[in-house]
């Protein structure tokens, strides 16, 4: 029998209660990311979700080239490094020879939306049963803040010093919407790390994307809008405001497609979907999402 050290406190406060614990999948070390960077948040969400789903022990993950190249230093799962942009192809190879593994890719926007467009499009088109985490901060962070395909119009970067000019440099690319049109894509959603509420919603998206793979669905993708205070030339706080304002205006948040898990394995087929191009107008395919556990309702943060 031990003496209560604070007998005057209410019982609720006295009982030790675990409210947050770092998931074991998250390595016990500090990251190389710049102050205020969103990668750490996405890493933590992934570790939380994958631990909750008991995935780390049979995960094979693919690291990108870019700021998250060292993801394997922070996430305690088997990792292979892919050449720039090739993570979805590498993941395809893993998936095909290891049907039992949980296969994860983690890519930035330079990696996924520029140099790796062919690989991501075709992995999605084949309906590869892999989960892709796409961190979009609209810039090449690691190489010093150059323009990415996702850079906003007018945004100044080290390779668009006068701001991105559509006439010379084209328009921002909404690749998640593009991918969502492919029938091989079971789930595609866009979240943000801009505040606690959005982070909670992003976590639910990541969980849904992981569940799609576990349940035998096709390709699942979560785009996480993130900030790059250093590359954007802002304070971390300013960058989060920017993320909530102009960035979200260009890249709207939400579930873009959820076709639900239909087949036990292989590419998901859309129930009742018409053959041929799903959308002539380029709008999001009007799939009837089959509600899946934890997917329909995004919890409030």
């Amino acid at each position: 029998m031990t003496l209560d050290p604070n007998p005057e406190l209410p019982v609720r406060a006295r009982a030790p209660r675990l409210i947050y614990r770092k998931p074991d999948m998250l390595a016990d070390r500090s990251t190389h990311y710049c102050p205020g960077c969103g990668h750490g948040v996405v890493h933590r969400l992934l570790a939380e979700v994958m631990t909750e789903l008991d995935l780390p022990a049979h995960t094979i993950a693919v690291a990108p080239v870019g700021c998250a190249v060292f993801a394997y230093d922070y996430l305690n799962v088997d990792f292979v490094e892919a050449p720039h942009g090739r993570a979805p192809a590498v993941a395809t190879g893993i998936r095909r020879v290891r049907p039992e593994a949980f296969v994860l890719t983690y890519q930035g926007d330079g990696d996924l939306a520029a140099i790796g467009t062919a690989e991501i499009v075709h992995a999605a088109a084949r309906g590869e049963r892999i989960t892709a985490i796409f961190v979009n901060n609209g810039i090449y962070g690691m190489t010093g803040g150059q323009m990415a395909p996702t850079t906003l119009l007018g945004q100044r970067t080290t390779s668009s010093p006068n701001g991105r000019d559509a006439a010379l440099m084209g328009y921002p690319i909404r690749i998640t919407e593009m991918l969502a049109q492919l029938p091989g894509v079971t789930y595609a959603a866009r979240g943000s790390v801009a505040d606690a509420s959005l982070i909670g919603k992003l976590k639910a998206m990541i969980k849904r994307a992981c569940l799609v793979q576990i349940e035998g669905g096709g390709f699942s993708l979560v785009e996480a809008l993130s900030n790059c205070p250093v590359g954007w030339g802002m304070t971390p706080q300013e960058s989060l405001e920017h993320l909530k304002g102009p960035v979200v205006a260009e890249y709207p948040l939400g579930v873009i497609v959820d076709r639900g898990v239909v087949a036990a394995a292989g590419p998901a087929t859309e129930p009742g979907a018409k053959p041929g191009p799903a959308t002539e107008t380029g709008a999001t395919p009007a799939a009837t999402p089959v509600p899946a556990p934890g997917a329909a309702a995004v919890p409030e943060g």
């Binding site: 799962v77 292979v80 490094e81 192809a89 590498v90 893993i94 593994a101 690989e119």
Partner: protein, 434 residues
């Protein structure tokens, strides 16, 4: 067509076994594909390109029937990176392409060499540069042996001269790849890919080993990482030193070559692949005209059989290198020969193959030049050392025979030139240092 050759991996009837040993006419690309399957290839990734498309097509038919992996990728980049992923889990992986496709694969080859990921890559070479043509070529010798991608790395390169030998080398290639944790290339020119030859259905499935590096999920062990990056210069240098040690080991252990008609040869043709087949015919024609010619055929283009060739050069009057290129391997020949004897070159480009008569012509020209030089040397020597009657050239004639130790070496590629050498000389001797 579940088992087109009766070569399934399941239990076999004696009839099937008989069938299995019989000779069948097979196209090079298809024979290679089947040999890879029989060597236990778990997964194949490819992309259509002439002149290797039949390899992909054979895999498309066979692999799913065997419950193995076949993926036609969106590009050669896709194919090789799928291979990287599959190989990182410890699977036995094959990729094939032809020259322009291999250029695209160079990036991942560098990553795989750097991270120690085993894989076999077949290049059915076509003429370049650029899109070039679909005709046969050996103009990717530099690419194959001097590095495809960036960085200090090498990959073993195997160059069969017949379809039968190519089949044997597929199993060897997987074995090398896994033993040394490295990509391995098998290079053929378009003729060997496209031609049909009678081949023996004799296969080998190399033993499987448990890999302590393969990615299988970190259950019950610390997580593993397969990577080539290291931003700390000292650490990266250490990794590079380890790689170079591996290459030195491969250079010591895995050199392969073959010789033919070398016992009394004064003129040595150095050639690989289809060029070696042409050289073989040229040797007969040359001998009919009184030029004692023999063949030195590198089977590993890297590691190049430099020491063995140097030994040959010590006693040869001259060497003629024959290639389906502007002269690429000839640089390694010259490096190996180090001026011990004159080295000539004859090659064709653009998808053309030198004819035996062309090679004999080049050999005769070289022969004439060498004889004139030797004659001049003899005269000068006689003038200088009027009192000494022994001439240097006598030595050459006496010592052409190869060192006896070669015959002790294990014979490999016993089917060298299998069924393809119509009227080919007997007595092919293959050497391998183990």
């Amino acid at each position: 067509m579940t088992d087109p050759l009766g070569t399934g991996t399941g239990p076999r009837s004696p009839e099937a076994d008989t069938k299995r040993r019989s000779r069948v006419l097979m196209k090079g690309n298809e024979a290679i594909a089947e040999a890879a399957i029989q060597a236990g290839c778990d997964a194949y990734f490819g992309y259509p390109i002439t002149p290797q498309a039949e390899l992909l097509e054979w895999m498309a038919r066979r692999m799913p029937d065997l419950d193995r992996v076949f993926v036609q990728a969106e590009s050669e980049l896709g194919a090789i990176n799928m291979a990287l992923g599959a190989a990182a889990t410890g699977a036995r992986v094959l990729v094939s392409s032809s020259s322009p496709g291999i250029s695209l694969m160079a990036e991942a080859m560098s990553y795989m060499a750097g991270s120690g990921t085993p894989m076999v890559l077949v290049n059915v070479m076509r003429a370049g540069p650029g899109l070039g043509s679909i005709g046969p070529s050996q103009s990717d010798y530099f690419q194959a042996t001097k590095g495809h991608g960036h960085g200090d790395y090498r990959v073993p390169v195997l160059a069969p001269a017949s379809i039968g030998e190519a089949m044997d080398l597929m199993a060897d290639a997987f074995e090398l790849a896994e033993r040394y944790r490295t990509p391995v290339m098998v290079v053929l020119d378009g003729i060997l890919g496209q031609a049909m030859e009678p081949v023996e259905l004799r296969f080998r499935n190399p033993e499987r080993h448990a890999f302590d590096w393969a990615l299988t999920g970190a259950a019950g062990r610390p997580a593993r990482v397969i990577k080539s990056i290291d931003l700390v210069p000292e650490v990266l240098e250490k990794r590079n030193i380890a790689l170079q040690r591996k290459y030195a080991e491969i250079s010591r252990q895995e050199v392969r070559w073959a010789t033919e008609r070398m016992d009394d040869a004064e003129y040595v043709l150095v050639a690989y692949g289809t060029a070696a087949r042409v050289a073989r015919s040229a040797i007969e024609k040359a001998r009919a005209r009184g030029i004692k010619a023999g063949l030195f055929r590198p089977i590993t283009l890297w590691p190049f059989p430099s020491r063995e060739l140097a030994r040959v050069a010590r006693h040869a009057h001259a060497i003629l290198t024959v290639e389906l290129s502007s002269g690429q391997m000839v640089e390694d020949v010259r490096l190996a020969v180090e001026g011990r004897c004159p080295v000539g070159f004859h090659g064709r480009m653009g998808g053309l193959v030198p004819t035996p008569d062309e090679v004999v012509g080049a050999l005769k020209a070289l022969h004439g030049k060498v004889e004139r030089t030797r004659e001049r040397d003899r005269e000068q020597q006689q003038k200088r050392h009027a009192g000494r009657s022994e001439v240097q050239s006598g030595h050459h004639h006496a010592a052409v025979a190869l060192p006896a130790e070669r015959t002790d070496r294990a014979e490999i590629g016993a089917r060298t030139g299998d069924g393809a050498r119509e009227g080919a000389p007997a007595g092919t001797r293959d050497g391998a240092r183990r």
